[in-house]
């Protein structure tokens, strides 16, 4: 036991100062748990004690989220780039197309895929909270949940995109989509130029999370010359 706690007047919100933190970085880390985090640990214990949840269920959720990464979305996009029939299925019935690729999108109420073209560029935001296609891409980045993004993406999407290094031509229509209800949106970025010789796997590597939100386009292929047959 660690004995008496001298709160140093900091109160719960800042954790406790233990001598042990000098020698035990893990404890120091735990001591940085804010008040509501501490309460969540307490809530977890209570819910398990009362048989409302089990530790196994909670761990299953942790494992589920860990398996959700942008690589899943990248596979969908790469397949859509190489296979026009798949692309059409992805646009017409996204959840079924995900299932085809072994991705479980069942927990989404509805998924809609937004295709970028040379005429239209989509940008997704949730101004009301932080709705995001977690079942495909995993957790959203901090900036997506920030007040700055949620406020500015609807008013000045081009300025926001510029902060991500994206500049779109004036004749491209920018379509901001505010996912205010149960629909979750995934952007299908344009296939970069000069990628004809790339495999599906190499194409997937060009598809970033940010390009599936819409703040950037997909990465350019590196300019290595492809062998043989000419123009």
């Amino acid at each position: 036991m660690t004995g008496d706690h001298d709160h140093n007047g900091h109160g719960h919100a800042h954790g406790h100062d233990h001598d042990v933190t000098q020698h035990d970085p893990e404890a120091a880390e735990r001591n940085k748990v804010p008040f509501y985090g501490q309460r969540m640990y307490a809530i977890r214990e209570l819910l398990v004690e009362k048989g409302i949840l089990t530790h196994a269920e909670i761990q299953a959720e942790i494992d589920y989220m860990e398996s959700r990464t942008p690589a899943n979305g990248a596979r969908l996009v790469a397949r859509a780039w190489v296979d026009p029939a798949f692309k059409q299925r992805l646009l017409d019935n996204p959840k079924a197309a995900c299932a085809e690729m072994g991705l479980d999108a069942a927990s989404l109420t509805e998924l809609v895929v937004l295709e970028n073209t040379d005429r239209q560029h989509h940008l997704v935001v949730c101004t009301l909270c932080s709705c995001y296609p977690r079942a495909i891409l995993g957790r959203p980045p901090d900036w997506y949940k920030s007040f700055a993004y949620r406020s500015r993406a609807v008013v000045e999407p081009r300025a926001v995109m510029r902060e991500f290094g994206t500049e779109l031509a004036e004749d491209v229509e920018v379509r901001v989509v505010d996912s205010s209800a149960d629909i979750r949106y995934l952007v299908l970025p344009r296939r970069p130029e000069h990628t004809e010789g790339l495999s599906e796997e190499e194409l997937a590597a060009l598809v970033t999370r940010d390009s599936m939100i819409g703040v950037t386009e997909a990465r350019r292929a590196s300019p290595t010359p492809t062998p043989a047959s000419a123009a």
Binding site: T109, E110, V112, T127, L128, V154, V155, E156, P157, R158, A159, E170, D171, V172, E173, V174, R175, V176, V177, D178, S179, S180, A181, D182, I183
Partner: protein
Amino acid sequence: MGRVVSGASQALKPGDRVRVKDQLRAGHVRTPAYVRGKLGWVERVHGEFRDPEKLAYGGDGLPRQALYMVGFHQTDLWQPHAESRRDNLYVDIYAHWLERA
């Protein structure tokens, strides 16, 4: 006060011009403030979903409400500061928040 399932905007279809109602409404609301009172058009018909305004209080959200993706010209929303006359914005809005324009 009795709302019919599809509100005043029965079976909207893509291209229909609509106005977002500008109503003061207590409780949980999923229609963003910045489109209230604005004119737009139906871009997509998403289908019918449980009403989030009821789900938010533990209700079953029934009867389902039609949900539409509604498009707006950025220049109509943010006069006069819109970045581009070409750009549009889309929001998912429930039928009972829309009326034909």
